[in-house]
Symmetry: C2
Subunit: 79 residues, 2 copies
Amino acid sequence: MPGKDRDPKIPFGKAVRFFRNAAGLSQERLASSARVHRTYIGDVERGTKNISLESMVRIAHALDVPLSRLIAEMEKSRS
Amino acid sequence: MPGKDRDPKIPFGKAVRFFRNAAGLSQERLASSARVHRTYIGDVERGTKNISLESMVRIAHALDVPLSRLIAEMEKSRS
């Protein structure tokens, strides 16, 4: 499948931004709700963080979407 | 939702084992195909690794399943 081996951090960051905007949350509000550092969400959205499963689960939870949906959104922009 | 904040590494590891068995692959074969260390898959399946997005994508690719499906399987055993 095309794009399967490309860096997933960029499309993952785009998916986080997509759902954060859909929820009408600022980066600061999302960070606080996900219990991560204030600047962390910006780094994730720019694709500069090699995010761990645990942080991904916390961010998805704070966005109130299943992580599988966040990943499916990431896969859409990778294919 | 129940279980949303529990450690996701254990159910993620179970999901990896589920799809690896379904594909009829040994841990060694999966490790080689995913370009990770031989012992890494065992650690992931036991839930002792805080796996990164990039490693998750490589393992899903080697299992020939979308990462979103692997995560959906993880979510099944967490809810």
